[in-house]
């Protein structure tokens, strides 16, 4: 799956958790999930579960802990898919 497609998919996964949808529309790989998008940190586990379901893979806890930006998530998923 190419990077852009993964990026768009992750944005879709994040959408219910982002109060201001415009922030997400402008988001790039540099966008910080907690600081920029203001996602409630408690909900990150739900985002991870959703990623696992959508991309058909398993994300370990320590891998999840390293995700800060959307780009981190894209990179991790791309690695796992390949």
């Amino acid at each position: 799956m190419d990077e852009n497609k993964i990026l768009e998919e992750i944005k879709n996964i994040l959408r219910p958790y982002v109060k201001d949808g415009a922030l997400l529309d402008q988001a790039t790989t540099e966008t910080h999930i907690l600081d920029d998008l203001k996602v409630n940190s408690a909900r990150l586990v739900d985002v991870i579960i959703k990623c696992e379901d959508i991309f058909g893979l398993t994300i370990e806890d320590d891998e999840a802990d390293r995700i800060r930006t959307i780009g981190d998530a894209v990179k991790l998923i791309q690695e796992k898919l390949s």
Partner: protein, 421 residues
């Protein structure tokens, strides 16, 4: 006030249903599939759609039945009291003067049964997600509402079985009286779930003989009462100190004149499931004394009256406590005759019914008691079987009793713009 009752959501629909004596009890196919003895229940209609219209997708994922009934009622009550919902973009303003006591009897049992237990048993805890605790914690309702409205005073949830809703109102009123809050959102809720109702079905205390005629199933004070019909829903009332309410020109539905909460100690005939008659009488008299109300002033009683063997005892307890014989007895009706027994939600839904009747000057019919129980036959003429216009009604007593031998009683007084009545 806000209400989500089995026979109507919103004050207008609820009042109309009460006046018409319209039952909200329906056949529940799931209960039949699960081999329940009682296959009927009171569930607010179309509520899935209703709550979707109140909350965004993100919040809905954390809102189970119980929290949904409570949150919708609380939002309705807040708006009905003349307040706007907080600006969603304002992340700073907190209303430090307003709190909430929003209880439930059983709570998030549906979430526990449908999500927690199967997921844990399958060893998939990791897949449970982040939304379980907030839905199963006992304070799940008040926590959700506190956040929705930005409340900064005490935000908590009480639990006293079927006395929960009335107790929430009593405790909220106390907090205002103590000067600790200017305003409290008081209420309660209970989900609609076979997992909540199963224990009662197993105890054989719920109606098993009316599965083919659901609307006739809830029969408080009837000779053919056959146990209560389980119900669900929620209600909330905005209580406010008089000075603050007058200052903002709030519409005042009624005054809370007297309150009392007690327990019969599970002695002298009281038990986990039955009330000590002395405890009941003390609670009623305590509320009257608290409000400086003479027993002779009571115009009407909105009873606990569930449609079990206890109804005749309750009527006689009222009579003895008030020292008023059948020929001098206040009117008495049971809202449960139309909505079933909404457990933790009962006291608050029925208090909304009580206040609406007082405010609008009517008494709703107590349905399904065309055959009054022989032990209380003498009181027959004091039970409205058709809607009764009663514009002169000034004082109405509401009581709730719950497992654990707990009691609560509130004396509501008509508000006549400060005139002594």
């Amino acid at each position: 006030m806000g209400v989500a009752a089995p026979n109507g959501h919103g004050l207008e629909a609820f009042e109309k249903a009460l006046r018409e004596g319209r039952s909200g009890i329906r056949f529940v196919p799931q209960l039949k599939e699960l081999n329940f003895g009682c296959q009927i229940g009171g569930i607010p209609a179309n509520f899935e759609e209703i709550r979707k219209s109140y909350f965004d997708f993100e919040k809905l994922m954390s809102i189970n039945d119980n929290i949904g009934f409570c949150s919708v009622s609380a939002v309705d009550a807040w708006k009905d009291a003349g307040f706007d919902l907080p600006d969603p973009d304002d992340d700073e303003t907190v209303d430090w003067d307003t709190g909430a006591i929003l209880g439930c009897g059983i709570g998030g049992m549906d979430t526990i049964a449908e999500k927690v237990v199967p997921t844990v048993k399958e060893g998939r805890v990791r897949r449970m997600g982040s939304r379980i605790v907030e839905q199963v914690m006992n304070s799940g309702t008040s926590a959700r509402v506190g956040g929705l409205l930005g409340l900064g005073n005490q935000v908590t949830s009480n639990s006293a079985a079927c006395s929960t809703g009335t107790e929430a109102i009593a405790d909220s009123a106390w907090r205002i009286r103590h000067g600790l809050a200017k305003r409290m959102l008081a209420g309660s809720s209970e989900g609609a779930s076979p997992f909540i109702w199963a224990g009662f079905d197993a105890m054989r205390v719920i109606a098993r003989k009316f599965n083919d005629t659901p609307e006739a199933g809830s029969r408080p004070m009837s000779a053919t009462a056959n146990g209560f019909v389980p119900g669900s829903g929620g209600a909330a009332l905005v209580l406010e100190d008089l000075e603050t309410a007058l200052k903002r020109n709030a519409r005042i539905y009624a005054e809370i004149a007297g309150i009392a909460v007690n327990c019969g100690g599970q002695r002298s005939g009281g038990s986990m499931t039955a009330p000590n008659p002395e405890g009941v009488r003390r609670c009623i008299l305590g509320a009257l004394a608290d409000g400086g109300i003479d027993p002779g002033e009571i115009d009407a009683i909105n009873g606990h009256l569930t449609a079990t063997f206890a109804d005749p005892y309750e009527v006689k307890n009222w009579s003895r406590a008030l020292k008023r014989d059948p020929d001098d007895f206040p009117w008495i009706n049971s809202t449960k005759s139309m909505i079933g027994h909404c457990l933790g939600a009962a006291g608050s839904i029925e208090s909304v019914a009580a206040v609406l009747q007082l405010y609008r000057g009517f008494l709703h019919p107590s349905i399904n008691c065309e055959d009054i129980h022989p032990d209380i036959e003498a009181f027959t003429d004091r039970i409205p079987r058709k809607v009764l216009d009663f514009p002169g009604m000034r004082i109405l007593a509401k009581a709730s009793f719950g497992f654990g031998d707990v009691n609560s009683c509130i004396i509501f007084k008509k508000w006549e713009n400060g005139k002594e009545i």
